[in-house]
């Protein structure tokens, strides 16, 4: 327990929060200062995380700082930092991409009226995500999990005057909330049965004391949170809509880091989950379904950001497949490389979108997007990495996932994975070919050549850095593997099966070739084979009608069903009964008041009647 380490951790995680508070309270009116504060704090976080990573590169075993939290509430919850290899790796990835995206945003968001607000939310996100990476207990993870959800909501709906943006933010929050509720319940199950929420304890002997059924149940419930956050089937439709946010936000939250938090949590609790093979089977199935569904959706979309969003879902599904197949390193490594090249993809797309003002890549191609040199090269590198073209980083990570899948007894999973590889290559290069080999270019003089001002430089700087990383990262596979192996309780059994490597490579090249045939070659119609089969096209374009089902559910069942019933019950039954009671009282009062207010003789009569009844009573009582 070294104090410098603790100090570094605290600085890395809490500085962005301080920046958030400062911006919200003091510098809302000073955009420049806000940006500097935010970037400065993230830069310090980045430095700290790199230092920590370097310091712990060789250190075996996790470093843990914890303190009792909420002791007086009657719960035994430990909070603190867990700086193990996985956490530090994630911390570094997040800090790095946060920093790059924030620098990039200087150019992208320049002149926006909500500039300060943007940086405040970005800092909030950075705080939550960095803290999530080094959280010590499940409860702590849940807290930051919700906070990244909040920043996601705020950033998706950043341009809140647009109805679709605020709608998308709400949808994202509520859908992930649905998953989080399962996660929350899972935490309860774990707490009540294992008596502890510490990550290390759960991965260690504590979990084995839990009954097997309870363990499976809690694993499935916690996985619900992963499904929500990582936009897996069936809670996947919020992510494409989340592209309503500013592009840097999509790059940071909705591809590289936040949505990867689900996979991160999976990796965090990998030993715990792997105690339940049944749960792992379910995870594998859900990962596969999500990967294939999202790939099909990506094949027909014309919106460049949505293609990358679908591809994010698909790649996250692939990571979950890898993890669920037992390939711990494969999943984490793909998470790492994916963070790099997907952020790069989005940031490049952002440059195009910013420059040409449209999301439609057919449009972009027609407008002459080839003119922007650095983004063009970077996006091709990124797309190639996404498709698994050697020697880029994506190739290595995908290969290791394929090996993990090949290790399973049922070859179906591997075949599904290979199909995914093929589809990925097809749809990513569909975008590339359409964008850079358009059928016709409407050259506009001012547009094509690259602008050369500070904003553009701020945007391209991170692109170059990320592209370099994407190219080089693949060669660090072995060191990262060794680094991660230091923390693992269970063995990384990754059998080397060459034929799966080759098959994957062949299929990705085949996908690329098909894309070239349909979109890239001279004289191609640029109409995909899916679009030639209208029912299939419609099915994919409508996202397998998932949104329709949810819409109907919310509208019919929740709004017009239960909610209507409750409201009617309040109005008619409860209030009706109360009002009837009140009305009855008033009516009764009116009747008794009648005797008092009408003619004097009725009063006399009433007196007499009472007298008679009294006589009656006494007479019969006597008998």
């Amino acid at each position: 327990m070294a104090y410098p380490t603790l100090a570094a951790l605290i600085m890395a995680t809490f500085l962005p929060f301080a920046a958030f508070l400062l911006i919200m309270i003091f510098t809302r009116m000073k955009p420049g200062l806000s940006a500097r504060l935010s970037i400065g704090s993230v830069a310090v976080s980045f430095v700290c995380s790199v230092v920590l990573l370097a310091q712990n590169w060789a250190a075996p075993g996790p470093v843990e700082y914890s303190t009792q939290f909420l002791a007086s509430s009657g719960l035994n919850v430990q909070v603190g930092f867990l700086a193990d290899q996985l956490g530090l790796l994630m911390l570094t990835i997040v800090a790095a991409i946060c920093l790059l995206v924030q620098i990039y945003s200087l150019g992208y968001m320049a002149g926006d009226p909500g500039f300060s607000r943007y940086y405040a939310f970005m800092s909030l996100f950075a705080w939550a995500m960095l803290s999530l990476s080094v959280s010590r207990s499940l409860l702590q993870i849940y807290v930051f999990w919700e906070l990244v959800g909040l920043s996601s909501y705020l950033l998706i709906g950043f341009w809140y005057e647009k109805f679709s943006a605020s709608q998308a933010g709400k949808k994202a929050f509520v859908m992930t909330r649905a998953g989080d509720v399962a996660f929350f319940l899972g935490i309860f199950v774990v707490l009540l049965n294992a008596g502890n929420l510490g990550v290390l304890e759960l991965n260690g002997p504590t979990a084995t004391r839990m009954p097997h059924e309870v363990l499976t149940l809690s694993a499935l419930l916690i996985f619900g949170g992963i499904v929500g956050k990582s936009a897996q089937f069936p809670l996947m439709t919020w992510l494409p809509d989340a592209m309503e946010g500013p592009t840097p936000v999509s790059a940071l939250l909705h591809s590289a880091t936040m949505v990867a938090a689900g996979v991160f949590l999976f990796a965090r609790l990998f030993p715990f989950f792997s105690l339940s093979p049944e749960a792992m089977g379910v995870f594998l199935a859900i990962g596969t379904i999500s990967m294939l569904l999202a790939s099909t959706m990506a094949m027909v979309s014309r919106d460049i950001k949505r293609v990358w969003a679908y591809s994010t879902i698909s790649q996250l599904g692939l990571m979950i497949m890898g993890l669920a197949a037992g390939g711990y390193f494969a999943g984490v490594f793909h998470l790492t490389t994916h963070a790099g090249f997907k952020a790069l993809l989005f940031l490049c797309s952002g440059v195009f979108i910013h420059h040409f003002g449209t999301n439609d890549f057919y449009e972009l191609g027609r407008s002459g997007s080839r003119g922007l040199k650095i983004p063009t090269i970077s996006i091709v590198i990124a797309a190639a990495a996404l498709s698994g073209v050697p020697p880029l980083s994506g190739y290595f990570s995908k290969e290791s996932i394929m090996s993990a899948l090949a290790g399973l007894s049922n070859p179906m999973w591997l075949l599904a994975g290979l199909l995914g590889v093929f589809l990925t290559a097809y749809y990513s290069f569909r975008v590339m070919f359409v964008m850079f080999f358009p059928k016709s270019v409407e050259q506009e003089s001012g547009h094509a050549h690259a602008p050369d001002h500070a904003g553009y430089r701020a945007m391209t700087g991170p692109l170059v850095f990320l592209a370099t990383v994407t190219v080089l990262l693949g060669f660090f596979e072995a060191p990262i593997k060794n680094f991660l192996a230091g923390m693992l309780v269970i063995d990384l059994h990754a059998p080397e099966t060459n034929w799966s490597h080759i098959a994957a490579l062949v299929l990705s090249i085949a996908g690329l070739a098909l894309a070239w045939f349909e979109f890239g070659r001279r004289g191609a119609e640029q109409v995909g084979f899916v679009e030639k089969i209208p029912p299939l096209y419609r099915l994919f374009a409508e996202r397998w009608y998932l949104d329709h089902i949810y819409g109907l559910f919310v509208d019919r069942v929740i709004d017009r069903g239960i909610s209507w019933l409750c409201w009617q019950n309040d109005n008619k039954v409860i209030d009706g009964a109360i009002d009837e009671l009140a009305g009855g009282t008033v009516e009764g009062g009116r009747i008794s008041a009648f005797l008092q207010t009408v003619m004097i003789q009725y009063r006399l009569l009433a007196i007499f009647a009472v007298l008679v009844f009294l006589a009656f009573y006494f007479f019969f009582e006597k008998i």
Binding site: M24, R28, F69, L70, A71, S72, S73, G74, L75, L139, Y142, V143, F144, E146, L147, L150, Y153, G157, Y160, E161, F163, A165, S166, Q167, G169, K170, F173, V174, R177, A178, D180, V181, F184, L185, F188, L191, L192, V554, I558, D559, I562, S563, W564, L565, C566, W567, D570, I574, D575, I578, A582
Partner: protein, 496 residues
């Protein structure tokens, strides 16, 4: 139970300050509105300071009742003027102080009958303070009624939507509650055979079984329903949205923020602590009603178009969480319930305070007529959104911890109800975000585009409330430490 006498009558000082404020306001001519406001702010500020002082001066290691003052009042009936605070009442006292002060500031811009308004407001708060600190059942009952009557006038005179109906409904409901409480109090008085209304001796006789089990069951259900009406227990909740919507902003704040807490506090202090056997007998019923209230309030809130109705139904839902915590019969449950009372009080006060500002500017609180306010008044919107997020149970804001602890306790005691209650989180998120989206997002309406954002001075009360939400949200132990001093000895001392 340990009783630590006070070296200075702090508690009476709070009451004395509100009464002095009341008198001072009465003496000022009605035309001097500015002076009245300042005097009100001063006196309410003093009470806030004293309650803060008490909160931090309370000895957490000793626990029990502290700052106790004990004077004989009507010896022949055994009625004594006893004040004292423990871990249950201290957070509520602080809550009342905060909401009181911020409420005065919230109503700063009101111009109609300022003098009468603040006078009644002070009277109302006197009753609330008295109830939280009194340790004599007779006084608890009296304070309960003292706090009810000004409410009727405040709503009927200064209210907005269907104010007469709302005021009448609220008053009738609450008086029905007090009609249930009084017989139960007298019943306990006679059945204990002690000839005292004192809380501590009665509690001991409840614990030791001097009051027989069936008597406790009978008294408990009366007290639970009586106070429960005020706490918005389903299905006696319909007064709350109507009353909230009708009341002026500060009264809504006190009403939802503090008055509903009187109900749940009464359930805890009088019903549960005096009749523990009755508690264990009726706890499942309490839990079922609370769980229905949680999910029902959330669903009913989905359909509302009036901002205050939305908050009213969210209050029903949140008070269901309090009720669920109280029904679990565990330390965690009580901790969470009291914490949730505090958090909900601050959160609702902030919501109503923000709505108050918006209503004063736009003259409407119907969601469909609003929109795009975030562009026009970003700061005011931020306050509302912070409170809305707290109400969704977002970590980092106070409500999360109360809900978390209550849910865990409920999950342990009544697993199915715990699951239902947690599921309501999704619905709450859905309707709160809908309201936020339709009110603050979207294009700016022409007629609102010239409105001013909240000024620094008017922002002060909202800032205080938001700051409390964040501070307690980041460091929940500040409250849990205090509450625990009361809940743990109580639960451990329960008869087996």
């Amino acid at each position: 139970m340990h009783m630590e006498p006070a070296n200075f009558p702090y508690l009476s000082a709070i009451l004395g300050t509100t009464v002095a404020g009341l008198i001072a306001i009465m003496l000022i001519p009605a035309e001097k509105k500015e002076l009245i406001r300042r005097v009100s702010a001063t006196f309410s500020g003093i009470t806030l300071v004293i309650s803060l002082l008490l909160f931090f001066a309370y000895d957490r290691s000793m626990g029990g009742f502290q700052f106790v003052e004990d004077y004989s009042w009507i010896p022949s009936l055994g009625i004594r003027y006893i004040n004292g605070v423990d871990g249950f009442s201290l957070p509520n006292l602080l809550l009342t102080g905060i909401v009181f002060f911020t409420g005065v500031l919230t109503m700063w811009e009101m111009e109609t009958r300022v003098k009468e308004f603040y006078a009644l407001y002070f009277l109302l708060v006197t009753g609330v303070f008295g109830l939280f600190m009194s340790l004599d059942l007779f006084f608890i009952f009296v304070w309960y009624d003292v706090s009810l009557f000004p409410m009727y006038l405040l709503i009927a005179v200064w209210g907005t939507t269907r104010k007469e109906y709302g005021a009448m409904k609220l008053t009738l409901y609450l008086l029905a509650g007090s009609a249930l409480i009084l017989p139960a109090v007298i019943f306990l008085y006679f059945k204990s055979g002690l000839g005292t209304f004192g809380f501590v001796p009665l509690m001991q006789s409840g614990m030791s079984g001097t009051i027989a089990p069936w008597e406790q069951k009978f008294a408990f259900i009366l007290l639970f329903l009586g106070f429960g009406i005020l706490a918005g227990v389903w299905p006696f909740h319909t007064w709350s949205p109507v009353g909230h919507a009708a009341a002026p902003h500060a009264v809504s704040m006190v009403h939802a923020g503090v008055l509903m807490k009187i109900g749940s506090f009464g359930v805890l202090r009088v019903a549960i602590m005096l009749c523990p056997v009755g508690w264990s007998y009726w706890a499942p019923l309490m839990a079922v009603l609370a769980a229905i209230g949680i999910i029902y309030g959330a669903f009913a809130g989905l359909r509302q178009t009036d901002l205050k109705y939305v908050i009213g139904y969210s209050s029903v839902s949140h008070m269901g969480v309090v009720g669920l915590g109280l029904s679990t019969m565990t330390v965690e449950g009580l901790n969470g319930a009291v914490f949730q009372m505090f958090a909900h009080g601050i959160m609702t006060a902030l919501l109503f305070s923000s709505i108050g500002y918006i209503y004063d500017r736009t003259h409407t609180k119907m969601v469909p007529e609003l929109g795009g306010l975030s562009r026009v008044m970003p700061v005011a919107s931020t306050f509302f959104i912070v409170a809305a997020l707290a109400s969704m149970g977002l970590p980092g804001l106070a409500n999360f911890w109360g809900e978390l602890v209550v849910f865990i306790a409920a999950f342990r005691t009544y697993p199915p109800l715990g699951v239902i209650a947690v599921l309501a989180l999704v619905v709450t998120a859905l309707f709160m975000l809908r309201v936020v989206q339709r009110t603050f997002y979207g294009p700016v309406d022409e007629k609102f585009s010239k409105l001013q954002d909240v000024s620094f001075f008017l922002g002060v009360p909202r800032m205080i409330l938001a700051a409390v939400l964040v501070i307690v949200g980041l460091y929940p132990s500040i409250l849990f430490d205090v509450i625990h001093t009361a809940s743990a000895p109580f639960i451990n001392g329960l008869p087996k």
